[in-house]
Symmetry: C2
Subunit: 320 residues, 2 copies
């Protein structure tokens, strides 16, 4: 079953969120407005809003209360993508030119800042102070994760713990917080929202590992960018770390630079695949997924729980 | 009298703020920590914290309550400077290498993001919801101001209204909000904090105009960067707009590009000076200053009021 089909019962609320996203980035400045809309229209799975809504279903679900949380989290995610693309010199995202490619790094920096500021405006509508604390901590972690990513680029000495810490900050926390804040907005009790947080955290870890595997197993068409692009950019991911345990493969990998030709990258991809690193990475992703599902066990049986389980499983098996 | 002497009675509180600034940017990541400290140690007048504290003196002044507001506003200001320097390709600030010069644009972007996120963490300590709303609106305005500045670069068709709108967003609002939030943190009543807001707003306008004049009248040593650098960067300020009313001078100015040699910039500075544009700009700055002082008239007589008046006057006459 396709991801979107699993939560089609949320469609009208998701449409509402999509509208609010558009309204929120609306700017007097035509440049800002155009750049923000470009980003918004480039799509995305809106997986964070989906998690917010589903977590809210465990409590007193009121779309008008929960909507701002969903929109704010998606905007924070979008803003971080724009700044990410500057860091990674990315020309394409989901097959479409990035803001930094269509305009330039400076416009990308300020569009990110702007979307981010707009999300903060929205957040002020949310009364619960703990929401603000959780979100600002999340932002600090996101920033530290990104700067660690800059620092760790082409650092072939890093270990698996560095990698896990980075993807935790870069991806897992924001998904965890999506579940947590959705639950908090719906007055779900502490024990349940802590379990939802952990569910989101483990799903996020699993999700990012799969993403990093896809960089090697996906086709250019599927990825919207050449295969192995993360590696060429110096992002040392789990499959790379596993593959480097083989001294001969390691020798080849450590030569990679931004200027490395695609043919050479393809050759290294073949080496990585032959090393068993892909299977090992997928196994780690599976372990995280199981931990995610474990955290749902004791939660009340409802449609939201079933959907969260289905989404987690699809994320674990996705090949897109 | 020197600016710092005017508020020496705030010294112990300002020292407290300085310490909190350092503690707040403390990061696990050594790169982030180093870059943030570099910025902090480069100094600055800390004029926003001073305004916060002085505004607080009109109410129930409690340094522990008001401190977070002061630190958060200074951090937001610092974060915006770091991103500014990326936009302006600035190599020097206050005579010291900028973060983008010492590291690069990417590190500057994320250091700005990080300082900014840290300021948000602090803000969550402040209980009053209106503080959060005011701050997030301010951030949106700051971003719009910056993006307008990018858009208006080398746009010699813009008018004085464009300029005023830009400096309002870029400078005046943050100073206005410093006064306002300091007052709110000290439970000053609405009428008084609105007057303080307007005082800050007009001081901010006056301050930025003087800043823009100094780009032409200051020496390289005073400015910490070559004279006329704003113009070379394409920032069309009030003296430039006034000077361009003379068709002959306009013809010379519109040729300016980033690559224009310093000798040519110096020649244009002489033209601008000869046009009377400097005096006219200073007069406008004076008018704003008078409006600022007007807003203090009806406030209770106290040391803070006298100090605000003194600071405003020094800002209006500053040549540093």
């Amino acid at each position: 079953m396709k991801l979107k089909m699993m939560y089609s019962f949320l469609n009208s609320d998701l449409k509402n969120i999509e509208q609010t996203l558009e309204e929120t980035v609306n700017a007097e400045s035509s440049l800002l407005h155009e750049a923000s809309l470009h980003l918004l229209k480039a799509g995305g799975k809106r997986i964070r809003p989906v998690f917010v809504l589903l977590a809210g279903k465990f409590g007193t679900y009121d779309i008008n209360k929960i909507k701002d949380v969903a929109v704010a989290l998606e905007l924070i995610h979008m803003a971080s993508l724009v700044h990410d693309d500057v860091i990674d010199d990315a020309e394409l995202r989901r097959g479409k030119p990035t803001i930094k490619a269509k305009w330039d790094n400076k416009v990308a920096m300020y569009t990110g800042d702007y979307i981010f500021a707009r999300s903060l405006e929205l957040i002020t509508n949310i009364e619960k102070p703990c929401t603000h604390q959780i979100l600002s901590n999340t932002l600090v972690e996101l920033c530290i994760g990104e700067i660690e990513q800059i620092k760790d680029k082409y650092n072939f000495e890093q270990n698996i713990r560095d990698y896990f810490r980075r993807i935790k900050r870069k991806t897992a926390i924001l998904i965890a917080v999506s579940c947590q804040l959705g639950a908090i907005a719906a007055d779900v009790d502490d024990k349940v929202h802590q379990k939802l947080y952990r569910f989101g955290y483990y799903v996020g870890m699993s999700y990012q590992i799969i993403d990093d595997v896809l960089d090697f197993t996906g086709t250019e068409k599927e990825l919207g960018k050449p295969a192995g692009d993360d590696l060429r950019q110096g992002n040392i991911t789990l499959p790379v770390l596993f593959a480097m345990e083989d001294a001969d493969i390691r020798k080849e990998i450590v030569k990679v630079r931004e200027t490395t030709q695609q043919a050479e990258i393809e050759r290294i991809i073949t080496l990585i695949k032959s090393s068993g690193a892909i299977e090992r990475s997928l196994k780690v992703s599976d372990q995280y997924l199981n931990k995610a599902l474990d955290n749902l066990k004791d939660l009340p049986q409802n449609r939201a729980k079933k959907t969260l389980m289905d989404i987690a499983k699809v994320i674990g098996k996705r090949n897109f």
